[in-house]
């Protein structure tokens, strides 16, 4: 498998009045061709902003991509001009958003919104594009697509709107499709229909998918590889199986313990109710992350060094990465850490100098 997308040290910060929100704070990952990468995390962990940064859709100001590289087939998307970037969006990399109502334009027909992409990237005439739009709507499972192309978003139900969104995203058969919580606003039955549709399309076109969700069950049914994010950083990354069967990071373990699994026994042997293994506390304040590991205040395996430095994301075995001192002592070389290190060195030098002075 070849690497289609490489994200290196991506940092997206939001400069608000008087403070900075470090929404994405050093994210590294790869996406191979034909692969589905699931990105899981709770609200505010930076999963959506990661995808927005890849598409360069971060509202600027207040947001700003501070550092990093997003290499798509070797070219850095962050260095492209706006015109060049526009050729990538919808053509090579496309996106499906969470709210199908707010992300479709209410004053244009569904067909027009699909043909827009085709006319721009495929140089089709309006008639050709409309015809192609109808074919695409049929492909995403809409009945009577020839009539539906002329309908407006308000005439469609939530599930159908999401299908239309997928048709727009698939129109140019992109290499990468980023799906940002595409099923969160939908009922389970409609969610299942959409998931099925997406995996059918993937099997047919071989598109790589970045699937962003907070629902671990959806990940289990859909992803090949999983990346768990917490407070702007990746804390664990591995194959889908390993995340569920051999979770390493205490946060991943906590997330898995927090969800009730369908069909699981819920009473202990003595008849008392089995409680969920919830994670204590809540997400840290974005303005002010803990100095050491960001999960330390909620972690049940916290050690003294967790408070002092941030662990680095390290390979433990083939394809499994984790950011935790339980498995490795490597420290993330953050600016704050380097500053502290430098200060320590300075202190040591001072002390040595003063000691030398005394002996003299």
């Amino acid at each position: 498998m070849s690497k289609l997308l490489e994200v290196k040290g991506l940092k997206t910060h939001f400069h608000m009045h008087g403070y900075t929100v470090r929404a994405v704070d050093g994210v590294d990952f790869d996406l191979n061709s034909g692969e589905t990468l699931g990105i899981v995390g709770e609200s505010g962990c930076g999963k959506s902003q990661t995808s927005m940064s890849i598409m360069r859709l971060v509202p600027d100001p207040p947001g700003k991509i501070e550092a990093g590289e997003v290499l798509f087939k070797g070219t850095d998307l962050l260095k492209l001009s706006d015109v060049e970037m526009r050729k990538v969006r919808g053509n090579n990399v496309s996106m499906i958003f969470q709210e199908p109502m707010t992300s479709l334009n209410p004053v244009y027909s569904v067909g027009y919104q699909i043909s827009e992409v085709l006319m721009l990237h495929r140089d089709m005439t309006k008639e050709e594009a409309m015809k192609e739009s109808a074919r695409l709507l049929g492909l995403v499972g809409m009945s009577d697509p020839e009539e539906r192309v002329n309908e407006y978003p308000f005439q469609l139900s939530g599930g159908l709107r999401q299908r239309a969104m997928i048709a727009i995203a698939m129109a140019c058969e992109p290499d990468i499709m980023i799906a940002d919580e595409p099923t969160t606003a939908l009922d389970v039955t409609i969610q299942a229909q959409i998931l099925k549709l997406m995996s059918d399309l993937k099997a047919r076109t071989g598109t790589s998918i970045m699937f962003i969700t907070h629902d671990l069950a959806v990940i289990a049914s859909f992803a090949d590889r999983v990346m768990v994010m917490y407070a702007g950083v990746v804390v664990e990354q591995s194959s889908m199986r390993d995340i569920f069967k051999k979770p390493l990071h205490p946060y991943t373990q906590g997330l898995l313990g927090s969800i009730p699994v369908l069909g699981e026994v819920k009473r202990n042997t003595d008849g008392s109710r089995r409680l969920l293994n919830a994670i204590a506390g809540s997400l840290p304040d974005h303005r002010n992350f803990p100095k050491g590991c960001r999960f330390a205040p909620r972690c049940n395996k916290v050690m003294s060094k967790c408070w002092e430095a941030e662990p680095a994301l390290v390979h433990t075995e083939e394809g499994h990465q984790v950011r935790c001192f339980l498995y490795n002592d490597d420290v993330q070389e953050t600016p704050a850490y380097q500053e502290a290190k430098a200060a320590q060195g300075l202190l040591r030098r001072k002390r040595r100098a003063s000691a030398a002075g005394e002996t003299r």
């Binding site: 389970v188 299942a192 990940i219 289990a220 919830a278």
Partner: protein, 383 residues
Amino acid sequence: MNDTLLKVVGLRKSFPVKASAFSSKTLGLKAVDGVNLELKRGETLGLVGESGCGKTTVGRCLLRLYEPDTGRVYLDPDDQIVSEVFEMDAEREALNGELQELDAQPTKTQADKARIKSLKRDISANRAQADERAKTTDLLSMDRKLLKANRRRVQMVFQDPWASLNPHMVVKDIIGEGPKEYGTHVGQDLDRWVMELLEKVGLPPQAANRYPHEFSGGQRQRIGIARALALTPSLIVCDEPVSALDVSIQAQILNLLISLQDDFNLTFVFIAHDLSVVQYISDRVAVMYLGKVVETAPAQQLYANPRHPYTISLLSAVPVADPDHPNELRPPEGDVPSPVNPPSGCTFHPRCSYKTDVCTQIVPALEKDQDGHVIACHNPPNG
């Protein structure tokens, strides 16, 4: 005292909707269409279904936050009263049917008109009589005074912790409002009670003097739970209490509800769309579809062996967080039909793969089968 805490009989509620944006004609959207439920003391009844199936409306009708059209909601039902009222209601239903038939005739004879008049008189007399008989235990026909006395026994936890707390009030006033109104705790005693509740729901005592906006979603939901507990109710209706919360916070709130249930001897109606959550917390689960209950069964059984075709397809649409699970999603085809104009017969028949001719014509009744499932289906699969 018998061990049934709540009995809901024939609950109906419809909302007027405009036929179209520019029309003055209104149609009835049947949100709840003849729901019967029964809750034992200390039990948790889960209410599941897709959006628009009427589960929230049922919850709200139990508290009279919506005024139901017809039906009975008995708190501590007396079997004698329930059966007597049931007969009277059935009789009235029959009279109503006759009245509608006569009314629908294009030309009415003198005799018909007289009959209509007498039917109307009988119906209103019957209704007054039934309400009079039911009023000691039926929340819907109680007079104001009795209703107020009983209202404190049924409380609610709302879905949206951002919208359900008054932003102008500090937490101690939010929690203390009920006890103050009912005079169960006053002065220092009230302060002590609020502190105790805060501790029970896992909030620090300093929270008492702060405003809702100072709290996170999970903490706000804890405040909402403390408010619901303040009058030591017997029944709490939890309307999607965790759906607005993050996964890790959701688990904390579920654990809290379970431990409070044991501490306060509570009965829950737990409304949610997340089937895994409902299965986890409920003893029994009722599945709703288009305003009707289609299947009720003990939670474990419902998930292990669903009987109604809708329950089967609903469960097969739920992804399971386990890579060893086959996770072949087999959702029902199509969308939920509009409740303004529901399909004839069994409302699920357009999406059902087991349908027969009878399903399109006759509404199936709820019947108990040998495994203790109560289902409304003419042609249940596997048996």
